[in-house]
């Protein structure tokens, strides 16, 4: 069984508030926030690694991103992935979800036979939830989004439970298929020292546009139906009153104000 996991390098969610829009240039000030594996992609990788341990699946990780994203592919290898591919090329830059999905779908075809593609349900850096289902559309395979549980993983048709309003949806899906994963599915493992050592010998394949042999007008900013036309720094400003004094005094004032507003 061949499992492909798509992972994204995202600015560390814990430090994301450091990233701001420059009011003058309307561009992003990244302030050296480190790149990490998108948290939900770790759940997708964990699901793949459990299939590796349970039934000897081979796990390939594919990421599209700038060269520094190599570190997160390395981390996936250290966690147990068998093969790591980084899609990095100026031609891929500025891609929206559509062009990203197109490029990843092209790489998946190039990577060989597959039975299952797993993605995190969304990326933490505020983009969309679209890449997973759109990869599936480009590959012509079924997709189930927001999978929280595997009910049956036997045979060619799996049964999964997916999030739904006030409950869940029971879905039957025929492999090969793409599933997007929620954090309820599993608990991602931590890096181990032996994993890091073992992964040192593994190399990461670096693929560019020429290798993928995709038309450049379908990639990156050129292949993206949407563009960011403007960035503004507006926000819902309110005039704040900061409470003063010791911690006790602040709590007293707040209790008074809450009582005044009628919620106590």
């Amino acid at each position: 069984m061949n499992v492909i996991v798509c992972v994204k390098a995202v600015p560390d969610p814990k430090e994301i508030c450091k990233i701001r829009i420059d009011p003058a240039t309307k561009t992003l000030l990244r302030c050296d926030v480190p790149l990490v594996i998108n948290p939900l992609d770790k759940n997708a990788l964990e699901a793949a690694l459990l299939l590796k341990e349970g039934r000897g699946a081979s796990v390939t990780v594919i990421s599209m991103g700038p060269p520094p994203a190599e570190t997160i592919v390395k981390e996936c290898m250290a966690l147990g992935a068998d093969r790591g591919i980084l899609l990095s090329d100026r031609a891929f830059g500025g891609a929206d979800a559509f062009a990203t999905a197109y490029t990843l779908a092209g790489a998946i075809v190039k990577a060989g036979e597959y039975d299952l593609i797993l993605c995190g349900m969304a990326s933490s850096d505020g983009a969309t939830e679209w890449v997973g289902p759109q990869i599936a559309t480009f590959l012509g395979i079924p997709a189930v989004t927001m999978v929280r549980k595997f009910e049956s993983q036997e045979g060619a048709a799996w049964r999964v439970l997916a999030d739904w309003q006030n409950g869940y949806r029971r879905v039957e899906v025929r492999l090969p298929a793409l599933l997007t994963i929620t954090r309820d599915l599993n608990r991602p493992r931590a890096l181990s020292f032996s994993g890091i050592l073992k992964s040192r010998k593994k190399t990461i394949e670096q693929w560019g546009r020429e290798f993928l042999d995709l038309p450049s007008e379908a990639l990156g900013a050129k292949g993206s139906p949407t563009i960011v036309s403007e960035m503004s720094t507006v926000r819902n400003r309110r005039d704040v009153k900061m409470l003063r004094g010791t911690i006790e005094e602040k709590a007293d004032q707040l209790v008074g104000l809450l009582a005044e507003s009628g919620v106590l």
Binding site: F98, V144, D163, V173, R235
Partner: protein, 334 residues
């Protein structure tokens, strides 16, 4: 004749009525359609849809494409996307809006990829620019991004419930209903077998008068317990930001913001939240906004009425005990 196509809403039904977000989108689509000089239309798929059709017409749809068939009772990705793409290719809508519901979040990207067009996610504002292109506003990095889809049509966007107001109903409004046949497709590769409702444990956040929302500043599972405790003391709804979900302290259903719930409580108390736009846009028109954050320079303090610059892990237990004491003293008086 306008050179633009109609504005569409892909509507949903739940419990014999149209979903609120579908009606809110019809209200918005009506405005956009009037500006463009085109029809406001809706597509409705499902089974036993009479009530929902009336809702859509009464809320402002000029025409409803209706596929009412037992095979469509449950959301079926292959059949639903096939019907919508077929209709879109025939009628060439200018704009397609969908609710950021569980269905919309899966169906919209499937449809957009097949139609080879762009799709903006969880917009918090929609308007036409000078060239009559749809400007789709999305909060990002302490500001707003405007997304446009300059060339491809339709322009597509998802929007959460609560972003737009529910339009007034006019039961006298008449509109056209166009019956859509269900295409014959082979054995589908993906099939919804059933949709199961689970008992909702807590009250709905959307209806809560007071909401306490915890973020990364809670620091640990133990710190989160203090957030919970404050919530219990206040009888408030417990909500959270993305980092709290990522840390495993709180369930995704309790996340407020652009890709979570939109709420409008009387009082919002953010503890250990940083004021990230993606979260803050989810709090619509709260009368009183309060924030607790250990960094006096945190952007959250620019967006609230009352600020407490303290570490929430130390402040919350003090506050909870003071609230308890206040309640006791009130009890003693009566």
């Amino acid at each position: 004749m306008s050179s633009f196509g109609p504005v569409w809403v892909i509507a949903e039904q739940s419990e014999c009525a149209a979903e609120i977000v579908s009606l809110q989108l019809v209200g918005k689509a009506r405005q956009l359609a009037e500006q463009l000089g085109v029809n406001c239309e809706s597509v409705l798929l499902g089974s036993n849809l009479g009530g929902a059709v009336r809702d859509l017409l009464a809320s402002g749809a000029d025409r409803v494409y209706l596929a009412d068939d037992p095979r469509l009772e449950l959301y079926q990705p292959a059949l639903y996307s096939e019907i919508i793409c077929m209709l879109a290719e025939k009628w060439k809508p200018e704009i397609i809006l969908m609710g950021s519901t569980f269905m919309g979040r899966e169906l919209a990207p499937l449809v957009a990829a097949r139609l080879r067009t762009g799709l903006a996610a969880h917009c918090t504002g929609l308007r036409l620019d000078r060239d009559n292109r749809l400007e789709q506003l999305i909060p990002a990095y302490g500001g707003l991004m405007s997304i446009v889809c300059p060339e491809k049509r339709p322009q597509m966007a998802t929007v959460a419930r609560g972003v737009f107001a529910t339009p007034a109903r006019d039961a006298q409004r008449k509109g056209e209903i166009v019956a859509v046949p269900v295409p014959e497709m082979g054995e589908p590769t993906v099939r919804t077998l059933e949709i199961v409702r689970e008992p909702v444990s807590d009250g709905q956040l959307e209806d809560a008068r007071v909401i306490v929302s915890g973020g990364a500043g809670a620091g640990s599972a133990e710190g989160w317990e203090a957030v919970r405790e404050l919530c219990r003391e206040l009888g408030a709804g417990l909500a959270c930001t993305r980092p709290a979900v990522d840390a495993g302290w709180a369930p995704l259903e309790s996340m407020i913001g652009q890709s979570g719930k939109m709420v409008s409580p009387e009082v919002y108390i953010g503890v250990g939240v940083s004021g990230e736009q993606q979260h803050m846009v989810g709090v619509v028109g709260a009368k009183l906004m309060i924030a607790v954050n250990n960094d006096p320079k945190s952007p959250v303090f620019e967006q609230v009425d009352l600020g407490v610059a303290e570490d929430c892990r130390e402040f919350l237990p003090v506050l909870a005990s003071k609230i308890r004491a206040y309640r006791e003293s009130r009890k003693a008086c009566v």
